[in-house]
């Protein structure tokens, strides 16, 4: 039970923050003179999802059913990208931890590469890989790769010298050291990286869909705006943001459950970087 108490507390804070934001949104729209045709409130979004008649198509169930495939496509784009990014970043970090030469050579290059703006390279990635899941995955993988590579590399090097000595004293080799000491001590760093990477992949996937595709949440955000279907537009905005927040929440929850009791308070390394 003690393990769940901090989780409950942080869930409550998050819910309270979200409620404050939703109330602020509702009040801003109700009290100002913005056009109710363009601007929808949280209550309108609830109506869109659950109340028949106000929006098109008439049945709320039909509107919800139309959302499901969009969410599915976006989740697939983001999921494939996240999986690729995590795998590559782990492999890269382990390689750099095993070979000092690799680390001194490629870490500075990785630092330089991550300053190249993704939005500028997206058209090039599109030109090379064409339309489809590969491009979506590459874009989502790039936003995952750099924060994870930096965090996990730092994490693998963060094992305390005492534990490293202990493994050596008992005759453990490089692999034992990696498996028993370095990887466990990199876990908090891995989660810190994932907390940035998971919502960022949702953001990258929707950005890809918006720029280059006709399916998924990102593309429908664009088309619903062109068709002036503002009920759908605002609902999609809520759904997309909710997905990104859920991705963060899942990682944060997994972090609490995996790390609590096993490590001293999670030394949360806050890696900078916003989804771009």
């Amino acid at each position: 039970m003690t393990r769940l108490r901090p989780v409950a507390a942080s869930v409550l804070t998050t819910l309270a923050t979200l409620v404050v934001l939703l109330v602020a949104w509702q009040l801003t729209v109700s009290l100002s003179h913005v056009s109710p045709y363009l601007t929808k409130t949280p209550l309108d979004v609830v109506d869109y999802l659950f109340v028949d008649g106000r929006f098109k198509p008439t049945a709320a169930a039909d509107r919800r059913a139309a959302l499901v495939p969009m969410i599915g496509v976006t989740l697939m784009h983001a999921g494939v990208g996240l999986a690729c990014g995590v795998t590559l970043a782990l492999a890269g970090s382990i390689a750099m931890s095993l070979s000092r030469g690799l680390r001194t050579t490629f870490l500075p290059i990785a630092l330089v590469l991550q300053t190249v703006p993704l939005i500028a390279m997206a058209p090039v990635i599109y030109a090379v890989f064409g339309a489809g899941i590969v491009t979506a995955a590459v874009i989502a993988a790039i936003v995952t790769f750099f924060p994870l590579l930096m965090n996990v590399t730092t994490g693998l090097a963060s094992a305390s010298p005492e534990t490293v000595d202990l493994v050596h004293a008992y005759g453990g080799g490089r692999r034992t050291l990696l498996w028993r000491v370095q990887l466990p001590s990199a876990l908090p760093f891995l989660f810190a990286g994932l907390k940035i990477a998971a919502p960022a992949t949702i953001s990258a996937a929707t950005l890809y869909e918006f720029l280059f595709s006709f399916e998924g949440l990102g593309a429908n955000l664009l088309t619903s705006k062109s068709y002036s279907d503002y009920g759908l537009l605002w609902t999609l905005v809520v759904v997309t943001i909710a997905l990104a927040l859920a991705a963060y929440a899942v990682v944060a929850l997994a972090e609490r459950l995996v790390l609590s009791g096993r490590f001293p308070p999670p030394s949360a390394v806050i890696r900078r970087g916003a989804p771009s």
């Binding site: 290059i109 703006p117 500028a120 030109a127 950005l207 927040l245 806050i270």
Partner: protein
Amino acid sequence: MTAPSLRLARPSRPAATAALTVVVAIVVVVAAWHVVAVTFFTRENGTPGAIPPPVAVLARVAQNLTDAGYWSGLAATAGAALTGYAIAVVIALVLGTAVILIPALEAFATQLGIIAACIPVAAVSPIVVIMSPSGSRAVSVVLAVLAVIFPMIIGVLLGLRAASPTQLDLVHVYGGTELTAIRRVRLISALPALLTALKIGAPAAFLGAMTGEFFAVGVDAGMGRLLISQQYVGDYAGMWAIAVLAAGVSALGYALLAAVAAVIAPWTRHLGGGAR
């Protein structure tokens, strides 16, 4: 950022050798880039394809730098980025002041930052566009704010916590007021975290402003718009040149703030942090 090396690692090589390795690695990467570009990405008429050779890109960068159109585009995007940056800094400082007055708000401020960092750009941009007049750079400004606000809030909160209780007690024991404590202790100890956040925020703001131009309606100047127009005509060397220029501007913003930080708080000089 630099991780403590494991004890088993060999003593570090002299800095000169390390620098040489990096230079060699960069040369290898650029050479590989050239070979790939020439072998696989040259069009039938001999012009560069999706991946142009490095020399062509650099020549294009040099050519762009003599073009007044690029300078005005750069200024337009940088203007939106600066506005967003300033707004984000003000919001973070207001939140920080609120947290000093009511410490219970700290969890709320952190959550707000996390939510801002999670929001996908494709979700927030269309609603900013429909609510702002045509030709407005509001999307660029909002995306710059969202990109900067998370590192800024975290920086401010870390800065607030940096003052040691002993130092604060000392001020109070000698009869200093809360104001003296803020002026003499809190501000000084908050500087390192604040300056790091300011440095990280500069490239993020430019990137956010550039991304915003992909969504804006009726805006025809800016780095993002230049990129879009080159995408239409398939001018890949031009697109790569813009990526290089954008990375350069971001790095310049970072370096400028680092220089300012070195002057007003020389003891924070060792604090790094890449850009993204």
